[in-house]
């Protein structure tokens, strides 16, 4: 579209009452998305938001775009159909850790593998909220919940690493409390041509309050989180005095000063797949900060691009009537 009328946040707000629990992290994500969407330059009638089941999946009802609240785990598949039916639509998937990693694990990995141009925002609160508090596939081992009174036994998924395994072409992470960062990450997702996967750490203040406390509390977060920026040395810490260097094939935290200078640090390159894999593996490493930002991005033809090429290049040998008639028809008079 040549001229896009200037949309505002208000244009994206629907007339529905928002029914999330007061204090839920979902509110700020909704507000950020509504703030960022007008900036994307996409007419809102071309936007389709598809979700599965779970607290996060109520999201489409609150956005004044086309929306589809589908069934548990299947949002990536429904969104695939939307996108392939009309590749000109701008398709977003809103999902949660249970929806995407557990019941919908199959669709999640396959949509990434196909690189269909859609944006997946996964709200990860490491708990099942809508079913009132069972552990999720991203909960830490030993989690005491209603279904695991003696602690959970399964090891959690590491969502970005899973996305890497499925050959995702855009992998990123942000945190609900980091409004500005979240906004810029949503924009980055939108810009990417291909499947974008953005994990958003989101606090469930009812069933898993404080799950990301050490990443969001003002006095400790800078020491526990590293913000990745393209072509920038990996620095973190309240005093910006810590950095990451490579020791063999491992990241190691060093203090910037007498032994190490900024030039010794690893410089983030989101197009380096090996580096991206290592970054995603930092997630559960207690000796390393938790990374947020764009872990990895890659340009690769999308499924629908290749589909359109096939449709266009398939030569029309026969018309419909001849096809119905087939090569061996006969007439009875």
């Amino acid at each position: 579209m040549a001229i896009t009328e200037q949309l505002t946040k208000k244009d994206f707000q629907s007339d529905q009452d928002i029914r999330w629990c007061p204090g839920c992290g979902d509110y700020v994500i909704l507000a950020q998305v509504q703030k960022v969407f007008p900036k994307l330059g996409i007419p809102k009638e071309k936007m389709v938001i598809v979700s599965g089941i779970g607290c996060s999946s109520r999201f489409p009802y609150y956005m004044n775009t086309y929306g589809f609240h589908s069934i548990h785990g299947r949002a990536p598949a429904v969104a695939t159909g939307v996108k392939l039916a009309n590749p000109e639509l701008d398709v977003w998937v809103i999902t949660g850790d249970g929806d995407a990693m557990s019941i919908g694990g199959n669709h999640f990995t396959h949509v990434l593998r196909r690189n269909i141009n859609m944006k997946i925002l996964m709200f990860n609160n490491r708990i099942y909220g809508l079913t009132k508090g069972q552990y999720s596939p991203t909960s830490e081992v030993g989690k005491i919940t209603k279904s695991t009174p003696m602690g959970s036994l399964d090891y959690p998924f590491n969502p970005p690493a899973l996305a890497f395994g499925a050959s995702a072409t855009f992998i990123g992470r942000t945190i609900d409390k980091e409004l500005k960062h979240m906004g810029s990450m949503v924009e980055e997702c939108s810009k990417h041509v291909g499947t974008s996967f953005l994990e958003i750490y989101q606090n469930c203040n009812i069933f898993n309050d404080g799950a990301f406390k050490n990443l969001t509390d003002r006095d400790v977060k800078s020491d526990n989180v590293i913000v990745l920026n393209e072509n920038t040395p990996m620095i973190f810490g309240k005093e910006k005095d810590k950095g990451l260097v490579l020791e063999g094939t491992q990241f190691k935290v060093v203090k910037i000063g007498s032994d190490f200078s900024e030039s010794d640090l690893v410089v983030h390159n989101p197009r380096d797949r090996n580096l991206g894999l290592m970054i995603s593996e930092m997630t559960y490493d207690e000796n390393l900060p938790v990374p947020i930002g764009v872990f990895y991005k890659e340009d690769k033809p999308t499924y629908e691009e290749m589909m359109i090429n096939q449709l266009n290049s398939a030569s029309k040998k026969v018309d419909l009537q001849s096809l119905i008639e087939g090569p061996n028809s006969w007439e009875v008079k």
Partner: protein, 611 residues
């Protein structure tokens, strides 16, 4: 010795051999040739679920049966006039179906001690005189004849032996006084890039044909005259082919893109294969990661404005159940094709059954009514696929279309339509500028309007939670849920105003009415035709619309003293008819993975008339 030519009005033949012997191709060629020649015909391919079962085993036997004739043919036939057995296992499995004095053609080269043992023969049955007494036995060393003929060709012995099926085909062509040219053309096309292979096959075909002509063992050939058809243009069609073409025509004739989301499953995969060849028509086929993604991608495509289709067989349909509920509550158009096979679970993947009727009508959580249609024969598939698409799009509703393994792979002549004569769909699109509420309904169909993403000013949200009528907003109000449940049922019921009344074959009242649905059409029709020849008071109706049922059905049922319902299940339609119309219908049920024989139904008809 002179040869004679006999006229015959109807013949049933069966090619049988190892699953690697090419029996399906041989049978397919014979049926294509038969159709072009002008006989009416009906076919029954029967093959194991294993792709290449161990050679020579009983469970590795693959066969292709067909009945053809100068009169109307409705079934692949009961007893065989001709059996071609390419190995001992095929003889062991199929001999009991051959008529006394029927023609038995055997490839002796495969009657090795190893193969005999695999087929549970202690001695070679060909050496037993009783075989030649009971049947007209023709023993031919087909493989060695073919190998000798191809001696000078630069092919491996294995490649040479692979043409043996063409020898058998050539021999049968000779027997029925056929022109072999159709198969020569076919082979030249199929092996366009492998001239040696096409040459060896053609040579084997001719060798078989000339063998019949030269040797004097077979003393008679048979002439089966052309059948009388209604005037029109015909072709031979398989059921799944007909479905694919019907969907394509629905899309092309009504300016709507076709999206197919599916997952490979026997015997439905051919629909995916066929549709994927129609790319030049803009048809989009998506081979999904599983059955659930097959249907949910189709639902997404329906939301985005396409004619959306998914196809599977029973086990896959079970996986799609939750999504069918989603399509029902979101009131989106969707065609769901089920090529039924023997169940439960994996069951009998390559065998036919009609035991998924309950699944189609009831098989979901909640009150979740769907429209259910059923094709009755291969030549009916095109029309039913077109009708299923029409109802889905005009009524904004999921439509089941049931077929089965027998219809899917069987073939018969089809009087195909001119696409210009097919009805155009009246789709309830929102026009720009019009007022819109997502669940505002049309008075006649109760269908909601269709606003398609991309259309400015009509942004709206739908989903699996209960909706308020009109606005479509999420609504948990008890009275609203009651109201919406009834509306969804009424949407289905009202379709009875848009479907044809059921037609009666035979007198409109009498002693016995035989009621069928789906792939049993041909067997019932043959049995009822035979009953008419014996002046029995029997009529037939065959239901193609199962939910809702045709409006005049209740009235028709009451005009007969007795009702007989043959089904390849435990009596599913029977339960529905008994419950809905309070009639004392009786079932006739076989669950053997194969079609009814017309004779069995005929006997059952007589039994009920005599009782």
């Amino acid at each position: 010795m002179s040869k004679e030519s006999f006229n015959s009005d109807v013949v049933t033949i069966r090619f049988s051999g190892d699953s690697g012997d090419g029996m399906q191709l041989t049978g397919g060629q014979f049926s294509e040739n038969t159709a072009i020649f002008g006989n009416d015909l009906n076919t029954l391919p029967d093959f194991p679920a294993e792709i290449r079962a161990p050679q020579g085993t009983l469970y590795g036997v693959s066969s292709f049966q067909m009945q053809f004739g100068s009169r109307q043919i409705f079934t692949p036939g009961d007893e065989l006039d001709v059996l071609v057995a390419m190995n001992p296992a095929a003889l062991q499995v199929h001999l009991s179906d051959l008529k006394e004095h029927g023609l038995l053609i055997v490839n002796t080269d495969n009657f090795t001690s190893k193969n005999l043992k695999l087929a549970n023969y202690e001695t070679n049955p060909l050496e037993d005189e009783s075989l030649a007494k009971k049947y007209r036995l023709i023993t031919v060393g087909m493989t060695s004849l073919v190998k000798t003929k191809l001696d000078d060709m630069d092919l491996t012995p294995k490649e040479k032996a692979r043409s043996t099926n063409m020898f058998a085909l050539g021999l049968l062509y000779w027997l029925y006084e056929r022109d072999i040219q159709t198969t020569i053309d076919f082979l030249n096309k199929k092996f366009k890039n492998k001239p040696l292979i096409s040459e060896s096959n053609i040579k084997a075909l001719k060798t078989g044909f000339y063998y019949g002509e030269t040797i004097e063992v077979i003393k008679t050939t048979y002439k089966v005259g052309k059948a009388k058809y209604e005037p029109g243009k015909y072709r031979n069609i398989m059921g799944n082919q007909g479905l694919s073409l019907g969907l394509l025509a629905a899309s092309q004739n009504n300016d709507i893109d076709l999206f197919f989301g599916g997952y490979p499953i026997t015997p439905a995969s051919d629909i995916l294969h066929d549709l994927s060849k129609f790319k030049s028509f803009g048809i989009k086929t998506f081979q999904a990661e599983d059955e659930i993604a097959g249907i949910t991608s189709a639902i997404g495509a329906a939301f985005a404005g396409d004619l959306a289709v998914t196809a599977s067989s029973g086990p896959g349909i079970a996986l799609k159940g939750e999504a069918i509920g989603l399509a029902t509550i979101t009131e989106l158009p969707l065609v769901i094709i089920n090529i039924q096979r023997g169940g439960p679970s994996t069951g009998l993947p390559t065998k036919t059954e009609q035991s998924d009727l309950f699944q189609a009508i009831y098989g979901r959580n909640g009150e979740c009514p769907c429209v259910v249609l059923a094709a009755s024969s291969p030549s009916d598939c095109f029309e039913m696929a077109y009708q299923a698409s029409k109802i889905a799009l005009e009524h904004m509703i999921p439509v089941f279309l049931l077929s089965d393994g027998y219809i899917a792979n069987g073939s018969e002549p089809w009087k195909f339509p001119d696409v210009k004569d097919l009805p155009k769909f009246k789709i309830n699109y929102v026009k720009d500028g019009e007022d819109f509420l997502p669940y505002e309904r049309d008075n006649n169909t109760l269908a909601r309007k269709w606003a398609i993403p991309g259309q400015k000013g009509y942004e709206h949200r739908i989903g699996g939670l209960e909706k308020a009528d009109g606005t479509g907003n999420v609504n948990y109000d008890p009275d609203n849920h009651h109201h919406m449940t009834i509306k969804r049922q009424e949407k289905v019921n009202i379709i009875s105003n848009f479907i044809p009344d059921v037609e009666i074959f035979g007198p409109s009242s009498g002693k016995l009415l035989v009621v069928g649905w789906g792939g049993t059409y041909g067997s019932i029709k043959s049995a009822v035709t035979k009953a008419h020849q014996e002046n029995l008071s029997v009529s037939q109706i065959h239901l193609k619309y199962l939910n809702p049922l045709p409006k005049n059905l209740g009235e028709v049922l009451l005009k007969f003293d007795k009702i007989l319902m043959p089904e390849l299940n435990m009596g599913q339609l029977l339960s529905i008819i008994r419950a809905k119309y309070l009639v004392d219908a009786k079932g006739f049920n076989r669950i053997k993975g194969k079609p009814f024989s017309a004779n069995d139904i005929f006997k059952e008809i007589k039994k009920h008339l005599e009782e």
